[in-house]
Amino acid sequence: MTASSTASRTLPILDAHGAVDHAAGAERFTADVDRTTWHDGALWFVREKRDRGAASVPEWERLRDLASAIKSHTLSRLDEYLERFERRATARGIQVHWARDGAEHNEIVLGILAARGARRLVKSKSMLTEECGLNAHLERHGIEVVDTDLGERIVQLRNEPPSHIVMPAIHLKKEEIGATFHEKLGTPAGLADPDALTAAARRHLRERFLGADAAMTGVNFAIAETGGVVVITNEGNADLGTALAPVYIASMGIEKLIPRAADLGVFLRLLARSATGQASSVYASHVHGPRPGQAMHVVLVDNGRSTQLGRGDFWGSLKCIRCAACLNTCPVYRRSGGYSYGSTIPGPIGSVLTPGLDVRKYAALPFASTLCGSCSAVCPVKVDLDQQLYRWRQLVMAAGGAPPLKRWWLRAMGGVLADPALLQLAGRVARGMLRVLPPRLARRLAGGWGTGRALPEPPRGSFRDWVRANRPGRS
């Protein structure tokens, strides 16, 4: 895979005004029909595992209510919990830093590394550092950054961003990963066995772990009461990094706070089951201070979160614990792929978070949904994703952010739907037209929806006629 063909597959498609064109990105993805079907199936498989995990816990719905209530409460006092966390963490020998935005975060991290003369950094999965563009910043300053989560290492070796927040390389086939490893790690040509490829990555990354000057992780939860952070992985890469390196930096968004350690009983029971269907992740590490001789830092990052907290309709998106269940269940995500969103976080949660950063650029994302509500139904912390998507659509339309044709069409539709006589007439015309038009042309009139679909036989009469005939006295 050459760099340019990779880039052309992963870069967001922008329209003439620099806004993300999700439909065009989805078209690029679905051009490969087999891959689309396979991607859809792989994610549905994870969704089914999630269902079995949830069904194994009789008190599941109570847990969701509790998790949502704990998060709502914490967000309603977030400044107090942040200060409490800072106080307790500092007392434990953890150095706490504050960053208003991504650039400030990157400067803080670079400063910590530079002060220690650290040049080799191992990093475990953190969507926050993706959001901040940390890797590129550090590399520009001569620091070698190695992402150690297997999926993240795969996409890093390919110069791609993650396409999913839990399974970063879900868009790739094992043959493609084998080709990348052959080129970058020297595995035999044609090797595509997941066990063998994982073993090769294990050997390659062991060396990086043992040679690292510093380790970074994201944070799943930060406990205000105790001043500690919780980092969760299945691979053990976060722990291997922090157990060896003399410097440890944990970066977290300010919304990751929870009040009490015991709250973790609720969140951990939900998180692994929602993400992968597992009863528990393998390593749920609680870090309350540096190892002897180690320096430990926590960077608290705002980067738009306080603004989102002040939005009455959208603050609930900050409850998110990044399980990705809403991505896995979303019929649009599954069939359009993570790159079509042009946003660090794709899928339903990305589509309600990212417009908050730049509503013009990401105006298309709230429309990348069928509003079926499946996302809200699976969300372990009860983020009202479908409501927020709908609300963003209203805001985008009000701001004139929709494409002109869509605007005209929706206004015309609104007029027709509001006028019963006009609606009846339109129905009669449509039924007549569908009978006489060649199917190819009729499908075109159905817009993107018509692509790859056959239109049903148009009914003879309207629903209104049917009710009159079959349910006398009801019309």
Partner: protein, 215 residues
Amino acid sequence: MSAREEILRAVRAARVATFGNAAPALPSLPTVGEWPGGADGAQATRSALVDRFMVSAQGAAARVVRTTRAGVAQLAASVADSLRVDGDGARDPVVLSMVDAVHGNMAVPDDPHELATLDLFVCEGEIGVAESSAIWLPTSRLGQRAALLLATEVIVVLESAAIVADLHAAYAAVDVGRESFGLFLAGPSKTADIEQSLVIGAHGAKGLTVALIDG
């Protein structure tokens, strides 16, 4: 204004704008035993908890061996033996043990990098969770926590009397902030990042054996 002041001020203004005086209360958590942990009933018997733990461990790809304190040494010897390298470059397995019953051939090093060649690590868990087979391991029971990740095989000794129904009971029983590090461990290291195929032994231990002691 410092970043800290500016962020705190923005957060305060935002939460007042969103919640006003109607801030949602912090809910109280379920009391231990409120949820029976499945179909076992509120007073799950010890043997029901152990059974549940064994099923969960299987789901997490961990091996459970029911044994006695005295039996742990033998178990460790057989696991170590499976890691012996014969022929070219023959060497004895490197064993680090944090439990009295097992004698290792390596002491806890000051520098964790010295654990790079560790074959077997043996330690003792504090609390086991029946619903997930997660085991609480505070740093005092690990020595260097890198041992848990660098060893090819790990044995965790656990008293069956230390098994509780669920995570709520576990968090009630442990003080997670007592030491600078502690973790819930459930099974060996794993990944499914290549086409959703489950592979055991991503970065950490390739095998986890729980030595369950019926005291």
